[in-house]
């Protein structure tokens, strides 16, 4: 850099001599600032505050595993041959020597056995993918159950949702690349599912596979989708997701000193730089150790793909297990009419798959429509304080989990000594009944917890000390809560159902109510009606109890 030797004429007002004395780092920063404006950027962000809570780090797990996947993925591309040319294997794994296999499979074998450290990187890549998707799922649930998706974060919710969906398909295309017997079976399923699409199915299948299945093209096509198209989109979304997190500032749980107008925590520099930066290494190190001790996708025992071979226990990776469950549980409906076939047995699960994921993606908009709330929300809900939302989320997760069981019905059957047919029937019924039960039970639990909170606020904490009163009665001493606890337990918003708000009465009676409004009122009642939330203690109630007849 020339600035060190020659006086800099473009120095922004600072005299040359004092610049000479400035430390080297500052000089570099000055140079960059003159071109990038980094000081203004740093002013806003260097001491940015992040609240401390373990559940706020779930997103970081996802971010870091995504980075790990990219790093290891680039390494793998150096050795992988995305080709379906059939060759004879002559590598070091004896039980496959002399077998015909695609170059894709053979090069994956070489990565696993002949490239030193190749197996480790392959396993890190795959384990990180499993963790990435699982992390996104849990992160999404954290955001859902704490209501962090509310205004102004709806768009970021959608970004996250898209990342989850794209992650599923990136994972799936990657899982298919080695062209082994297990993943080939998965690709065969995909092709069968595409064929089931009405009208255009056969055309899409022919175009995607370059002809009939399996043809000789899909590995190279999946390869460019897996390493370029999908990760490219995902990288963009991740950057957008992060920018929005910075821009909105993080949410926080209610507590003393924490309001909707501030964010309480530690600054990015130095604490979060060290914690978040350190966490990247922790995640990477942890996954590397996972890859050292546990085998994943051992393609050498799976063998190369042949369309007339198969193994039992043919499952996709976990994140596609939900779709697999839908497919397995569906009865074989097929309609033949006017020379055409409608393959409902495959097509309905495909639609349900999209619909089911779509519901959770659209939820923030549904909820904000029901509440009609247009304010910003930066204080998180405790799940119990939003019983209907929480119950809905648990119902959704229940249905998801039941279908995961359905996706592994054969493994469940053999390991619990059950009939595979009974497991399938359980899943078929459970998919509809399970969420209902989960909804009712969760809501009851939430309301119970709300009542307990109310009791605690009004009567204090049970101390476990029994006292005998002068007239012989025994009572348990209740300790009053601290001011912090009183505030925290009463800090949540409580909505009124849409139609009994005080302002509605005057004008609302005569107005003709449209259908969506009626639906909204009904939903609002279900969310915030009398039996659907416990009114939080009021100042009057508190005063009456604390100043009146004392504890009882």
């Amino acid at each position: 850099m020339s600035t060190t030797t020659t006086p800099n004429p473009s120095g922004a007002g600072a005299p040359g001599r004092s610049r000479e004395k400035a430390p080297a780092g500052e000089k570099v920063a000055d140079w960059a600032d003159g071109r990038l404006g980094i000081y203004s950027l740093a002013k806003a962000n260097m001491r940015k505050i992040f609240p401390d809570h373990w559940s706020f780090m779930l997103g970081e797990i996802c971010l870091y595993s995504f980075l790990i996947i990219i790093l290891t993925g680039v390494y793998l591309t150096l050795f992988f041959h995305p080709s379906m040319n059939e060759i004879e294997y002559h590598g070091s794994y004896v039980p496959l020597q002399g077998q015909l296999m695609s170059e894709a499979f053979a090069s994956t074998m070489d990565i696993s056995f002949d490239v030193r450290g190749g197996l480790l990187i392959r396993q890190i890549h795959h384990w990180a993918a499993i963790v990435f998707l699982a992390g996104m799922f849990v992160h999404m649930m954290r955001v859902f159950f704490t209501g962090a998706f509310r205004k102004p974060r709806e768009i970021n919710w959608l970004f996250g949702f898209l990342l989850f969906v794209l992650g599923m398909f990136t994972g799936f295309t990657g899982y298919s690349l080695p062209d082994d017997l297990l993943s080939g079976t998965g690709v065969r399923f995909t092709q069968g599912a595409i064929l089931a699409t009405p009208v255009v199915g056969t055309y899409i299948s022919m175009f995607l596979f370059g002809g009939e299945f399996p043809g000789g093209d899909f590995v190279s096509r999946f390869y460019s989708i897996h390493i370029l198209l999908l990760p490219g989109i995902m990288l963009g979304l991740v950057v957008g997701h992060l920018i929005l997190v910075f821009y909105h500032k993080h949410t926080q749980f209610a507590g003393p000193g924490k309001t909707n107008k501030n964010v309480v925590g530690m600054p990015l520099l130095p604490v979060y730089m060290a914690k978040a930066g350190g966490f990247f290494f922790l995640v990477f190190g942890f996954i590397a150790m996972l890859a050292a001790v546990a085998s994943i996708n051992p393609i050498w025992v799976l063998g190369p793909y042949r369309p007339d071979q198969v193994s039992t226990g043919a499952q996709p990776d976990w994140y596609m297990g939900f779709a697999e469950g839908l497919i397995r549980a569906m009865p074989g409906w097929e309609i033949n009419a006017w020379g055409h076939t409608l393959v409902l047995g495959v097509f309905i699960p495909l639609m349900l798959f999209g619909l089911f994921l779509g519901i959770i993606a659209m939820y923030p908009f549904i909820e904000s429509w029901v509440t009609g709330d247009k304010r910003e929300h930066h204080i998180l809900d405790r799940p119990r304080n939003a019983p209907t939302r929480t119950a809905f989320g648990v119902a959704w997760v229940t249905a998801y989990m039941i279908m995961l069981i359905g996706g592994g019905n054969d493994i469940v059957a053999t390991h619990f000594h059950l009939s595979i047919n009974s497991v399938t029937w359980f899943v078929r019924v459970g998919f509809f009944v399970g969420p209902v039960i989960a909804f009712v039970v969760t809501k009851r639990i939430c309301l119970g917890l709300q009542r307990r909170d109310k009791d605690k606020v009004l009567h204090g904490r049970e101390s476990g000390i029994i006292k005998r009163l002068p007239h012989g009665e025994f009572v348990e001493v209740h300790e009053p809560l601290s001011q912090e606890a009183l505030h925290t337990l009463t800090a949540h918003d409580q909505y009124q159902p849409a139609e009994i708000g005080p302002t509605v009465d005057e004008n609302g009676v005569e107005r003709k109510v449209k259908r969506p409004q009626k639906l909204r009122a009904k939903l609002s009642e279900a969310y915030f009606g009398e039996d659907n939330q416990i009114p939080k203690p009021t100042a009057e109630e508190y005063k009456e109890i604390t100043s009146g007849h004392g504890h009882h």
Partner: protein, 269 residues
Amino acid sequence: MKKLSARRRHPLAAVVVLLLALAATGGLYTAFAPADKAQAETVAQSLAIDEGKKLYAVGCASCHGTGGEGSTDGPALAGVGAAAVDFQVGTGRMPAQQPGAQVPKKKVIYSQAQIDQLAAFVASLGAGPGVPAKEQYNPEGADIAEGGELFRTNCAQCHNFTGKGGALTNGKSAPTLEDVDPKHIYEAMQTGPQNMPSFPDTTLTEKNKKDIIAYLDVVNSDDSESPGGLELGGLGPVSEGLFGWIFGLGGLIAVAVWVAARTAKAKKS
């Protein structure tokens, strides 16, 4: 895995192994017995049939009928051959304990000599595949890679890639092939026990069977290699997913809890 270690700990295990080994030697001797002793053999054979008949009347006749004609509780035995008996009784499946979707593997209750007698009797009811000789199922020198391909074509659909077993309809299942005697694997292919189809020599030649046994010996035995680390049951993505959730994500969440937790304050306690 669990079953295996549980069985290994059994105090009688050594005795059973010893008995099996003795019995196998006996069986081998019978198999290799020189031809010029044919006369003596025939006598020994009819003696064995008589002994077998007695054993049969006690342990088998209630389901399979006194003459092996079968009943509602058990199939007819004419023509199943000695190999079928050796497999069924030698793996403890027979005598069956209770009706169910299928008869599971149990502790073997007959000695190999008794099994041979039973086999001789059942073989006398009608011609069928005989007990294979050691050189038929000895995996030495077989083509492992060929065996792998044959295994994936003919066996993996029920028994899984490396023979960990899998589900069939209505509570039936294909058992794991771990620790199954090569002889029994050979017999199973030959005779098709219970719902397993048979793979006679016309479908799967003697060499094919040997290759399959050799492949299993490499990928599914106590010292099979799993270069990547823990095999996770060899069940594929289900166990991998479970492991990834519980130990992968679970462990990382534990780390996150540590990262986010407050450091202890000086005043506390």
